[in-house]
Amino acid sequence: MNVWWKKHWPKLVLGLIFALTLGIRLYFSFTSQTFTYESYFTLRQVEVIRETGLPAFDDHFSYGGRFLPFPPFFYYLLAFFHLIMPLKLVGQLIPQILISLLGPVAYLIAKKVTNRPGVSLFTAFISGFVPAVFKETVNSLSPYTLIIPLVFFALYCLMRLENKRYIYYYIVSVIILSFTHPVSFLLILGLVFYLIITRIEEKKLDRQEGELIAFSFFFFLWAQIILYKKALLMGGINFIWGNVPSGIMSYYFSKITFIEALVAIGIIPFIAGIFIIYKYLFKQKNKEVYLSISFALGAIVLLWLGLMEPRVALMFLGVVFVLLFSEAGRLFWEYFLNTKFVPFRYLLLAVVLLLFIFNSIYPSIELMKEKEKPLPEETEAALWMKGNLPSGVTVLSTVEEGHLIAAVGEKRNFMDANFILIDNIDKRFQDLERIFKTSYEIEALDLLNNYGASYIFFSSQAQKQYDITKLNYLGSNCFSKVYTNEKVKIYKVLCGVERK
């Protein structure tokens, strides 16, 4: 029994960590009545795939009707589970299982780097509570729930090329990532930085590593050309920047301060990670650590170029710093065992655990609570629209609510967060703001008529976002309230503007 326990205890503890992480996530998932705003896009795609076998690339609801290319693997994966489970259960369960797999992946990487099960298990535990990741993935049907564990699994496979099956695992990972989300380019960029760093540090690259990196690059390029062919022809190179309105771009970047970024990554992993980067770039050499460092560099470069949102960059950086922390943890533990404080090692472990609870777990939960998602009243209002408004009408709402309008209300939205290939996106975004904030009925009507919007979805989300309590031009007979609940009012536009 003793021998069996000695051999298998890490797996048992890892299983417990996985169960704990998944359990906490599922708790929040099942106690919430709604998903995050962007999840409604996923829900709609899953339903469309279930009905037609294909995703809604020609989207009749988004922006009143538009062509939208995107990698469909994640939606097909959820649609597969939808064959055997209700959609809501799929949404609550499957993404949380996927993201919880990050723990075992982090364990494997940490074990390969440090060769210490204890430190690796601790890394697995804290990887489940990276505040940036926790915030963006709980209650969320985001492709990042698949991408994050898969990217780091691909990284682990690159560390295990001496075993041939990991080569095939890596190839399959790259293929799946290429068809899941373009942010997978981070893997390619990270590998390019890895090549550069190993060259500078005069570390020899394995031939297999070079070949796999070449394969990753070519396959990813080919997959993106296939997926986005039409969009590239229509939008040219500007398509790569996602066509995000400048108003939203400045909002993304101004929203996050350094302290907030530090909290999102985790203070202790950040400090430990910086120490390891310094140590292994300037003092010692370790190829496996370079892989992690390369990823951090890749995320920073993409963030700097505006190709990655700060919240996404923080997710990847958070996980990378946790992995780097494992090596710092090993070094610290080995140092500590040689000091006279060694009898107090369990006390030290308890203190470190407490520190992590306060620096990572507690912020994770608090940040998750701050994440904006629709109120039950909003989904109720959207459901009402589905049954009571004519089909083919366009409903004006905030950008975040756009997917809700399309998925639940099954009505055309004015604007949503899929900005690519939309002409004059800045003007549209500014006009949306003007419609909500203007005091002049004529201006509001002119803009509404211009875009063909015949209903306004005025929610508490809109009030908060535009810092208004009501629409200032509703006094006349040109607007009629057709629905109201505690948080949402829906108005019908009755008038038009005649031009002479």
């Binding site: 080569i167 190839i171 070949e211 050309i225 229509m234 040219g236 190179i237 500007n238 211009n450």
Partner: protein
């Protein structure tokens, strides 16, 4: 020897397919062999020797014109291969470089549109081939042919001719040969300064973002494929160690790249050919390298091959649907029959040259105008399109003596997002009468009085 014959045979088949695919798809789609694109119509209406040749062939039989273009392309392909072999490139590498060129839109598009550039490339290739025979009289014949280039082609053709002569002279180091260089410089000066020949010929280019004009996948009908660019980068890095052997290519590459960025897209053919040398080197590296995993090598080659073929197919499909399509041809044919000579037609500049050639009427704006005239007409065109004052629009149309307005679907969709301003709004006026509407094309008659 047998291996080379097989390679050349395959090269020939690949080239024919690549060159003929676009026109064939166009024929299957529209049932006509009318040339496509502004370049074609510019040269069909050229009053010089090129215009007479192309329009003459087109008048005899449309197949004859395409026959000339595809033959010129095929001969150019074989000349490129032969030149590379004379420059001591290995059979496989020469075949790869030539094959990649033949599959690339930058090369194929030059031989799918009748133009002076198409014939000049053939002429320059032939000259280079003769020069590289290294036999005195054939070389002199090649140099003599090069002397004619500045008189017949544009500035880039003249520069390329000069570069070929310079490389030959530096290789042979015969003093007499420098006389040829002097002759080329004189011919260039005579042609462009004394005779006043324009430095660039062809339709006015609309400035686009560099990447959109350079990479096929970003929207240009010609351009370089993304995978070929990647192979070129690999080849460039590999050749850097032996930079001395590639100095001439580096120099020409840099020159034509800068010319492409700052001067004209017409340098793309020479830029492309230089890049193909590196692409071939990159492809050879991937082919000859000892791979640890053969299956991975095969997978990479499959992906690269599919990527290159995808670019070729993409170009062929773009060519087959390029303007003028059947609906526009029918509309212009109607306009030719129903309107009077001398009447002016207002439309987007893309339709200008087809209006002039197919309808035989004066287009308000077309890309055959000089650059300054084109820019001022374009300003006027935008004022007319986007004016929010109907009276002003009417005044501008009268002042420019417009008789007809031709609107296609793309114009309506792209140019006028707001139905209540712009030209579409003004058409409600009684002075406009819709005289033709079919398959998305509308022709409006404007009563000026």
């Amino acid at each position: 020897m047998r291996k080379e014959k097989i390679m050349v045979f395959i090269l020939g088949i690949v080239s024919i397919i690549s060159l003929a695919l676009g026109p064939l798809l166009r024929l299957l789609k529209d049932g006509n062999l009318l040339p496509a694109g502004k370049e074609s119509f510019y040269w069909l209406q050229d009053e010089g020797i090129y215009g007479r040749l192309f329009s003459g062939l087109d008048a005899i039989n449309p197949w004859a014109l395409y026959g000339l273009m595809i033959s010129a392309g095929l001969v150019s392909v074989f000349l490129v291969y032969s030149i590379l072999r004379k420059l001591k490139f290995e059979v496989e590498e020469a075949a790869l470089i030539t094959g990649l060129s033949a599959l690339s839109p930058f090369f194929t598009s030059f031989f799918n549109h009748p133009s002076a550039q198409m014939l000049m490339i053939l002429w320059i290739m032939l000259s280079a081939w003769l020069i590289l025979s290294w036999k005195k009289y054939l070389s002199y014949l090649g140099l003599a042919l090069l002397l004619a280039v500045p008189l017949m082609g544009d500035i880039f053709n003249a520069i390329m001719a000069f570069a070929i002569a310079l490389i030959y002279c530096s290789h042979t180091r015969e003093k007499k040969i420098f006389l040829w260089l002097g002759g080329l410089i004189c011919a260039t000066a005579f042609s462009f300064f004394y005779l006043g020949k324009p430095l660039l010929t062809g339709p006015v280019e609309i400035p686009v973002n560099f990447w959109q004009g350079f990479v096929s996948e970003f929207g240009t009908t010609g351009g370089m494929g993304a995978f070929i660019l990647v192979l070129s980068c690999i080849g460039f890095v590999l050749t850097w160690k032996k930079a001395k052997n590639y100095l001439a290519v580096y120099g020409l590459l840099l020159f034509f790249l800068l010319a492409f960025i700052f001067f004209s897209g017409q340098s793309l053919i020479y830029l492309g050919l230089m890049l193909m040398v590196f692409a071939g080197r990159g492809a050879m590296f991937l082919l000859k390298r000892e791979w640890q995993m053969i299956s991975l090598r095969n997978l990479i080659w499959l992906v690269v091959g599919l990527g290159i073929l995808f670019t070729t197919l993409n170009y062929a499909v773009s060519f087959s649907v390029s303007s003028p399509d059947n609906s526009l041809i029918k509309a212009l044919s109607w306009l030719h029959d129903e309107s009077r000579a001398g009447e002016v037609v207002f439309s987007n500049y893309d339709n200008g040259l087809p209006i002039e050639f197919l309808a035989g009427r004066q287009a308000f704006i077309h890309q055959g105008m000089g650059k300054n005239s084109f820019e001022s007409q374009r300003e006027m065109m935008e004022k007319i399109f986007y004016s929010s004052e109907p009276q002003e629009t009417l005044r501008l149309l009268k002042w420019n003596k417009i008789d007809y307005l031709l609107l296609d679907g793309q114009m309506r969709e792209k140019l006028w997002k707001n139905k209540e301003t712009g030209l579409l709004f003004v058409l409600a006026n009684k002075q406009f009468e819709r005289v033709y509407t079919k398959e998305g094309i509308e022709i409006w008659y404007f009563e000026k009085s």
